[in-house]
């Protein structure tokens, strides 16, 4: 069960076609912190009830970061059996971390919260570290398909979307690996604020693993196999605030002294029911990655036939106001609700979204148009967002959401710079916000320059992306702090 959850949630971050998301998008929406940020009362209540009933089963099954740690832990157990020991709870640290999260959320520093929140951390790891491998694998298949003249697979671009975010993801992964390899669920029981909150509740859960002291011979095998380090074998006590209900202890106990039963009633015959722990047999298919070396032909000096002119990469223009994706309502709404899980960024098929490097919106999605533009038929980010930071919108609604407006830079325009006819911005504007007018008021035959009707412009960036001027476009989009309907 945990394996299925983990695999599917990971696929949400990897699949770039949207197929998985149609069916399993809800898995991101039942994550605790996203549900809280989305003010999704039903999910929050359901998770609270689940925990009150069965303990922190959320941490074992639903949370992908938990499953990831179990995989690391599995390697740890391979290296050395019975490796865990009981440790005292580090309650102070836990409450401090929870306090930090709450203060950060209330004060609007969601990015800080995103650093320690489990689902966000997993999202960053999946989209920054797993997704490239998956995409390279896809590109390998695409290359094979191309040779076979099949259209089953197609090539996708793999690029580093945010340097700092990548580093954060990598550091998180390494830290988690070390912690989980050595001590199991240390992160979950010291840092994870969701774990702390659920820990409050799980103390009072109805179903619990209970030690039958009459059967227990005090061998301590259960404690040596408790990844949460929460079984104190000397006192026959289990710290239920830390127990993630993996039930490894029940499997390990040779005397059958531990049972997963309703509290108070020490039932005689109740067999371990419900979640039998997944042993973490998850096979990762790692595909060899090939680096598609983009070969750019050289420009030529002598006038010969054939060949390609060199195309410079576009550079990011200096925007006074950052652009946020349609559906996010406003910069403030995005900042407050986004957990920086990177799901929208992995889902964006047009290479528009990337994590922000700005401290205030650290790792939250930011829009830019050097590699593509926000295409009219796409509403992917709004579909996948689990937190309501980007609200679901339809294609029709999108045509009327103004996320910014285009600004023309006369000096960059090839009409002025090269004296050439153009109008590519006008041809590709989906809302007809750009018109071409003769440059010289007195000469209707003079070359035409674009003028922007900002009332009709929605800020999609088609003009900026398709502008022939490089590296800086002659028309670019300024973001709007609050989106408008036009």
């Amino acid at each position: 069960m945990a394996g299925v959850f983990f695999a599917l949630i990971t696929l949400l971050f990897l699949d770039f076609t949207g197929t998985i998301h149609t069916w399993f998008g809800w898995m991101a929406k039942i994550q605790f912190l996203p549900a809280v940020l989305a003010l999704n009362v039903i999910v929050v209540i359901a998770l609270v009830l689940l925990t009150l009933l069965m303990g922190r089963i959320y941490c074992s099954v639903i949370c992908p970061l938990g499953a990831l740690q179990d995989i690391f832990g599995w390697f740890g157990k391979k290296a050395k059996k019975n490796r865990y020991t009981y440790s005292k709870p580090l309650s102070v640290l836990r409450y401090v971390m929870l306090g930090v999260l709450v203060i950060a959320l209330v004060a609007g520093f969601t990015s800080v919260a995103a650093l320690i929140a489990p689902y966000s951390a997993f999202g960053r790891i999946a989209s920054n570290l797993f997704a490239p491998v998956y995409l390279w694998g896809n590109n390998l298949l695409a290359a094979v398909a191309e040779r076979a003249d099949s259209y089953a697979f197609y090539h996708v671009d793999v690029w580093l979307k945010g340097g700092i975010t990548f580093v954060v993801a990598l550091v998180t992964l390494i830290a988690l690996f070390v912690l989980a390899f050595k001590n199991g669920r240390t992160y979950c029981n010291t840092i994870c604020p969701v774990g702390t909150v659920l820990g409050f509740l799980s103390r009072y859960s109805i179903l619990k693993p209970m030690i039958d002291t009459s059967k227990c011979n005090g061998c301590g095998l259960c404690a040596k196999n408790c990844k949460a380090s929460c079984i104190d074998p000397k006192n026959h006590a289990i710290d239920y605030s830390r127990c993630v209900v993996c039930l490894d202890c029940i499997d390990k106990c040779r005397k059958g002294a531990i049972k997963y039963v309703p509290r108070k009633k020490v039932a005689q015959e109740a067999a371990p029911s419900g979640a039998t722990a997944d042993k973490g047999r998850r096979a990762f298919i790692t595909s060899t990655a090939i680096f598609a070396g983009a070969s750019v032909a050289q420009a030529q000096k002598v006038k010969m036939d054939g060949g390609f002119a060199t195309i410079e990469d576009k550079k990011i223009p200096k925007r006074e106001t950052p652009i946020t994706p349609p559906g996010s309502l406003s910069a403030k709404n995005l900042a407050q609700h986004c957990t920086a899980c990177q799901l929208c960024i992995s889902a964006c098929p047009n290479q528009v979204l990337r994590p922000s490097g700005d401290l205030m919106n650290f790792m939250q999605p930011e829009t830019s148009y050097e590699r593509g533009y926000c295409r009219p038929e796409c509403t992917k980010c709004s579909e996948v967002c689990p937190t309501g930071a980007i609200k679901p919108i339809t294609k029709e609604e999108k045509t009327a959401i103004q996320i910014g407006h285009a600004v023309w830079i006369a000096d960059n325009c090839i009409v002025n710079r090269d004296g050439q006819k153009c109008g590519n911005c006008e041809r590709h504007c989906p809302t007809g916000a750009i018109q071409m007018v003769p440059k010289d008021v007195n000469d209707p035959k003079s070359l035409k320059i674009p003028v922007v009707n900002t009332e009709r412009c929605i800020g999609c960036g088609a003009c900026e992306n398709l502008c022939p001027s490089r590296p800086f476009s002659a028309i670019y989009v300024e973001g709007h702090e609050v989106h408008r309907e036009i």
Partner: protein, 458 residues
């Protein structure tokens, strides 16, 4: 953007099937061997050319020229260590040797072909053969730099690159381009270049002086009426252009005008840059039905060589299979019957009904200053037309498949930044196109089509 699941199963299935077919075939092979051997034709028709090459005689010089000439604009290329496209000299040598061995003795190149690499490659390949074994044709390709000094330098470089003391056939490259007569005068008359070339002919360094024609037919008439003895001319001739050329440049008219004046005619684009070989299934079936064992291309070559005033038919043969197939067509060349001529005329009429863009992939339009891969976009479109992947509406029965095929193969064929949506429509390419395609208009049309596919609004 595109539903990935679609077709994946089909792809995997195909892989599996391929395996099954191979094993099946080998089984069938075993059992058939045990049948009576006597009834089988062991030798296929796909083998070597066997007959004698057809030659035509140049009335001016008595040159015996092979009816199949080698066009040197489409040599096989490879990547050098920097990823730059360079001519694969080893393959060129192999092809040239094979061609000469089988009777081909005419090679047509130009200083601008393959970004200037064609002449040098020819020089290297032909140096290995006795000079009297082959005729070499090259051109004055100065439309982009009509300066006298630069032009003469281009001529001298041709002699040097080709490693020869004289050029058998020298052409004023692509007259009728640009602004027609005006451009012609600018390139050859006003700067005194034609006088220079006539003197070179007197001196014997040019054995035959002629020109190649594209575009403005007024220039054609003007040049023919000049008081200059033209030794030969090169025109675009094939069974489509015979009566259905764009802008009424019908090859029938051009050919007859030249034949009237006893000017030998060299033929270029007998296949329209491969468009008369890569055709829609319907046309392929039509041609194949007539002669199941003959290639689709062979019809076009037989047509091009059919007219007695033709000295040689040039074909840019990139692969040995092209060469072998053409050698078969011309060894010996079999003239068309009246009925076959009629059949080809009807074929041309059907061909013209397809929305094919008239691009022959000559790359004269390139490089586009804004980096657009013009021939790439146009040829990809043509390919999809021929394969039935240009959907007319979302109601088409194969719409989903055609849409995916178009979009996926488009990204594979043309780099994203060089695709149609990046075209500025500045139109600088137009004057270079010998087919007189309105390139920005075609690119815009294709871009709109692609946009409709992407937005699913077709």
């Amino acid at each position: 953007m595109i539903n990935k699941e679609f077709g994946r199963r089909g792809f995997l299935k195909k892989l599996g099937m391929a395996g099954a077919v191979i094993s099946g075939a080998s089984l069938a092979g075993c059992s058939s061997d045990n049948k009576s051997k006597n009834n089988w034709t062991v030798e296929g028709t796909g083998g070597k050319p066997t007959g004698e090459m057809t030659y035509r005689t140049n009335p001016n010089t008595g040159d015996k020229v092979s009816l199949l000439g080698y066009g040197c604009m489409r040599w096989p290329m490879k990547k050098d260590e920097n990823g730059k496209d360079i001519v694969d000299q080893e393959k060129v040598n192999e092809l040239v040797d094979y061609a000469i061995e089988h009777g081909v003795n005419f090679f047509d190149t130009a200083p601008v072909y393959l970004q200037g690499q064609s002449e040098t490659a020819m020089g290297i390949a032909l140096k290995r053969h006795p000079r009297e074994k082959f005729f070499i044709a090259t051109k004055m390709s100065n439309p982009r730099m009509p300066d006298f000094k630069q032009s003469v330098e281009m001529y001298k470089n041709s002699l040097k690159n080709l490693q020869v003391d004289y050029i058998d056939y020298y052409l004023l490259h692509s007259i009728g381009g640009g602004k027609g007569i005006e451009t012609f005068k600018e390139r050859f008359i006003d700067n005194g270049l034609l006088d220079f070339l006539l003197k070179e002919r007197e001196a014997g360094r040019i054995r035959n002086l002629g020109w190649s024609f594209h575009g403005d037919v007024k220039t054609f008439d003007y040049v023919l009426a000049m008081d200059v003895k033209w030794d030969f001319a090169m025109i675009q001739l094939n069974y489509v252009d015979w009566r259905h050329a764009s802008r009424n440049n019908h090859a029938e008219y051009l050919y007859n005008e030249l034949a009237k004046r006893n000017i030998p005619v060299n033929i270029m684009e007998p296949l329209l840059g491969g468009r008369l070989a890569k055709m829609s299934d319907h046309l392929v079936a039509r041609l194949k039905q007539r002669r199941p064992e003959a290639s689709v291309a062979s019809w076009a070559f037989r047509f091009a060589g059919h007219h007695p005033g033709v000295l040689t038919v040039l074909s840019g043969m990139t692969y040995k299979e092209h060469l072998i197939d053409n050698l078969k067509t011309f060894s010996p060349h079999e003239p068309l019957t009246d009925e076959e001529l009629e059949f080809l005329e009807e074929t041309a009429q059907i061909y013209k009904q397809y929305p094919i863009v008239d691009c022959n992939d000559c790359k004269y339009c390139m490089p586009c200053p804004y980096g657009i891969d013009i021939p790439g976009i146009l040829l990809h479109y043509n390919k999809c037309v021929n394969e039935g992947n240009v959907a007319k509406s979302s109601q088409d029965p194969n719409y989903a498949k055609a849409r995916r095929a178009y979009l996926v193969s488009y990204d594979r064929t043309v780099e994203k930044l060089r695709q149609a949506d990046h075209c500025t429509s500045c139109g600088q390419c137009n004057e270079h196109c010998p087919q007189r395609i309105n390139i920005p208009r075609e690119i815009e049309r294709i871009d709109k089509f692609i946009e409709q596919l992407k937005q699913e609004t077709l």
